[in-house]
């Protein structure tokens, strides 16, 4: 049951082969046995999950089930869920039981999905290894001494170890795609504005976007169909006609299913940045794509090398503004002792935030402070324009851009924790996509030293369906995405 696709699970539920309560119990049992090793979940609440499962079973019995009715899903602890502890991986919110649902949570609820649990994450989504969580690091199911990636590391570890059929994540600089790559999953960051950010705790508002983490492109399409849609409560939500993101998946197969597809290979993705083992597998995947009928063209993203620098101005600047709301007044942590109001703010924030969050808030405050704004923030926004223009030029020559997701396989716990700059550079291939606001997906493309390697596909604005279709054709021709760590089989 735990290897079945979401479509197969929906069929099993519809035909009464299994009930939602049984399926939910199966996963809750797996979580109770395997989560202590992985630390993928922050909160599990079997009573709520099973009540939702019973309601889903009643809905299925009435014949009113949809593609996700009765299917348990894990959600990153960045999404507010009514009645659930919602921590964002921080001590600051370690006592925050949300009084309302995020748009994403509400949409899954309306679809009849079961909330299986809230997953661990880097504190306020600031991190690439899940080591900045107040709740402790998550371990990679493929190698417990390695990181699962971040910041959606708990969601990735949960799905990789089959503790959930699928999960949600958020991606500000690679936080869905990089953990997907490091845990052998398919993870998609949609175009900025496609999924509502309402109730999704803000990090860097011009970059944050929610998306699915799953075992295949087909499963990602099912999740994205439920997640996407206009929401007037998010001022950046885009009013667009409803679309079926699985439309390029559910078409008949051909001998050369990708004939006519032009794949752009940016020189900047194939320099000396990626480790040789990773690049070898990326090259092999590109050869597979040629066999599927795609043609490849050389493109260039000359400003991409500046993306990390620009990101570490823009994201901290926006974070310093967004996280000003955590002041110990209305919710969250308040210091037990203080002299006056100002001291209450400063102590509550000093105690509530961890080291990496503090670092970024200081960077953000500094670059926005009087006299530095033009040199940093405005310059970063101009670099951002150059990066977006590079992509626009590249997409005049190709339909999809392909390269590595991460320069290396999963690194060891603690390896980069003391060196922020090294950690930041692990997102070198993903950050530019967020700056431009484009959709991107990471899919499994092989193993190096027993650890998964991810292939990144980047599409033009609103090209999610084509990206998912392009990923799906590769997954029809390969079995990398079906591999799973065997120590959680029991």
């Amino acid at each position: 049951m735990i290897e079945r696709s979401l479509a197969d699970l929906a069929r099993a539920l519809a035909t009464k082969e299994i009930s939602s309560v049984e399926l939910t119990r199966l996963y809750l049992d797996r979580i109770s046995r395997h989560n202590p090793q992985l630390n993928a979940f922050i909160t599990v609440d079997p009573a709520i999950s099973l009540a939702q499962a019973r309601a889903a079973d009643e809905r299925l019995a009435r014949g009113e089930g949809g593609p996700l009715t009765g299917i348990p899903l894990a959600h990153k602890d960045i999404f507010c869920a009514q009645g659930w502890l919602t921590t964002c991986g921080s001590r600051m919110l370690s006592n925050f039981v949300s009084p309302y649902d995020a748009a994403v949570i509400a949409r899954f609820k309306a679809a009849g999905a079961v909330l299986l649990g809230k997953t661990n994450m880097d504190e306020f989504a600031m991190g690439s290894s899940n080591e900045t969580s107040f709740y402790g690091p998550v371990r990679n199911p493929w190698e417990l001494n390695c990181v699962p990636g971040g910041s959606s590391g708990g969601s990735a570890a949960a799905v990789a170890a089959r503790l959930a059929p699928a999960a949600t994540g958020t991606d500000t600089g690679g936080s869905i795609r990089q953990p997907a790559a490091l845990c052998n999953l398919t993870g998609m960051k949609p175009t900025y504005g496609v999924v509502s950010r309402y109730g999704m705790i803000a990090f860097a508002s011009s970059l944050d976007q929610a998306g699915p983490l799953a075992r295949s492109a087909a499963d990602c399409a099912v999740l994205l169909n439920a997640m996407a849609g206009f929401d007037e409560r998010d001022s950046t939500s885009l009013e667009r006609p409803t679309e079926d993101y699985g439309r390029d998946i559910n078409t008949a197969t051909a001998d050369k299913p990708l004939a006519g597809l032009r794949i752009g290979l940016p020189a900047e993705f194939f320099g000396d940045g990626g480790s040789p083992e990773v690049m070898q597998l990326v090259d092999a995947a590109i050869a597979d794509y040629r066999r599927l009928g795609a043609e490849t063209v050389a493109v260039s993203l000359p400003s991409m090398s500046l993306s990390v620098a620009a990101y570490y101005v823009i994201a901290p600047a926006e974070a310093s503004s967004n996280l000003a709301r955590f002041d110990g007044v209305r919710y969250g942590h308040r210091a037990p002792q203080y002299r006056d109001l100002d001291d209450m703010y400063s102590k509550s924030r000093a105690q509530g935030f961890g080291a990496e969050v503090k670092r970024r808030l200081l960077i953000g405050t500094y670059v926005l402070s009087h006299g530095y704004y033009d040199a940093y923030y405005l310059q970063a926004q101009r670099i951002r324009r150059l990066i977006a223009s590079d992509f626009a030029a590249a997409f005049r020559q190709c339909d999809v851009i392909i390269g590595p997701t991460s320069p290396s396989t999963a690194f060891r716990l603690g390896e980069k924790a003391a060196d922020p700059v090294q950690m930041y550079l692990s997102d070198i291939y993903t950050i530019a996509v967020n700056l431009a606001g484009l959709p991107g997906i990471s899919i499994p493309c092989g193993f190096a030293g027993g650890l998964p390697v991810g292939l990144q596909l980047i599409g033009n604005y609103f090209d999610e369906a084509r990206l998912l279709g392009t990923a799906h054709r590769y997954q029809q021709a390969t079995t990398w995405h079906l591999q799973h760590p065997d120590q959680f089989d029991d």
Binding site: S235, R349, Q379
Partner: protein
């Protein structure tokens, strides 16, 4: 460029994050490494490039300025149930005006 300890303390104050001397010292080192990375951006001539604030060129939507919440007492009760300190529907903080 390089930050000074005094600047770190000043920024920490602006951000309302209490910082100990030991923390300020270690933070200074990390921030200077990060700013060395950020500085690579300064070498690029961006004159004439329009700053990009946002991924989509969309105008802010407007809405009528009217109360849309229903059952505001229940809403307030739910939201204040998780507050550190409230009284009579108000959030309490230390005395600000003498």
């Amino acid at each position: 460029m390089s930050l000074t300890l005094e600047q770190v303390r000043r920024v920490a104050h602006l951000a309302r994050i209490e910082i100990s001397e030991v923390e300020a010292d270690s933070t200074l080192g990390h921030l200077n490494e990060i700013f060395a990375l950020i500085e690579t951006m300064q070498a690029v001539d961006t004159s004439g490039v329009e700053p990009m604030a946002h991924a989509q060129d969309v105008a802010q939507r407007l809405r009528a300025d009217r109360v849309t919440e229903s059952d505001e007492v229940a809403q307030r009760t739910a939201f204040q149930a998780i507050a550190p300190e409230t009284e009579a529907g108000l959030y309490l903080v230390p005395k600000v005006i003498e």
